[in-house]
Symmetry: C2
Subunit: 220 residues, 2 copies
């Protein structure tokens, strides 16, 4: 089992039984989504903003406009951290204290650099679109030089990381189990609804396979 | 219209047409969820972690164990910031450049203090459980002194805040609209699945109304 190294930064202190440093576990959590909450420091304050990402091997990629405050702050700091979280259920215990959620989350720390090589930039922007919805990029109008030049691409090499997963039932106090209080799980899930075609689409353009497949795989 | 004051910190630079400082808009986004990504600084690094919250008027409340690294860091810093985001759809344009998401997000900045008054603490922990699922607290086994003492409650008074909302269709280049490329929206939604009762529940305990109502309101 390949693991990310543990340091004071990523070592999970609370609920360590839920923690994992396994690379495959962490990459699976990353690949199940496309939006991370990225943390940065601005005027000595920590701020977090949701951003689209893609992962290629041990590298995370973000993009934005050339003046994006967060991206330029990350480039100045030469490091970044981000968290991806998927909520899987409400855990409703017999006491308030044992209420919890089922979830999968990954927190990543790494070193940051700007990608300037145009070929590499194109490959990354393609991967960012396809992380959101697989196989979309190939159907699109190619990127223009103007768009390419207006886009800042930032790479974070994952140096340390941790996953936390809770996927079990209610964990009540033994003494509470006989109380006449309902306890259980309400699973929650992010689902896709049927695609809505753009008004301006001509009638010949039908919904492509990659969109239908996304819907089939993500509908309830 | 009551608005949060804008400062260099919360003023939205990118896509300001989607930005709002309206208190009601921001509170509505907060109240539609119960998990925020909270940002903090640890050893000069910005980190973000998802946390359960509740809002009472202009105050946000977090809780955790007494030794929770993030909460103690926020108390030391005497300030915090956090972001709440709801993903509403994938926006699939005819070019990669115009791909986007529909969403509602709120980023909050404020001053932080610890809540020690026991009555106040109880009221807040009740609100945190009821933020997750309305009307649950009253059905629970009352909190013990041990639990109360083991729980750290942190209050953040919102000083500045901003909301960003995108809820429109595809925004392609005029010149791209006639291309034979499908464009549109795939709405996404977080939904509840049917509640699963705890194994140890005795047969007399049926699923209570607040759980059935949550499911009805949040199912697809």
């Amino acid at each position: 089992m390949k693991t990310y190294k543990t340091t004071d930064l990523n070592k999970v202190k609370r609920g360590p039984n839920r923690a994992s440093y396994d690379v495959e576990t962490i990459h699976t959590i990353i690949d199940a989504g496309f939006i991370a909450h990225v943390a940065y420091i601005y005027h000595n304050k920590a701020i977090t903003i949701p951003m689209a990402y893609t992962r290629i091997e041990d590298k995370m990629y973000l993009h934005g406009s050339l003046k994006n405050r967060m991206l330029t702050a990350l480039l100045d700091a030469k490091e970044a951290s981000m968290t991806i979280m998927h909520l899987d259920g409400l855990v409703l215990a017999r006491s308030g204290f044992h209420h919890s959620v089922n979830y999968r989350s990954a927190t990543l720390f790494g070193s940051v650099k700007r990608i300037d090589n145009l070929e590499e930039k194109d490959k990354i922007l393609e991967a960012i679109v396809d992380q959101m919805i697989p196989n979309r990029w190939d159907s699109l109008r190619p990127m223009s030089d103007k768009e390419r030049n207006a886009t800042l691409v930032v790479e974070m090499t994952i140096e340390t990381a941790s996953a936390k997963i809770r996927d079990v039932g209610v964990a009540d106090e033994k003494a509470d189990e006989d109380l006449p209080i309902w306890a259980g799980i309400i699973p929650v899930k992010q689902v896709a609804l049927p695609p809505i075609s753009d008004d301006k689409l001509s009638d010949e353009v039908t919904i492509p396979n990659h969109v239908l497949e996304y819907y089939e795989e993500n509908k309830l």
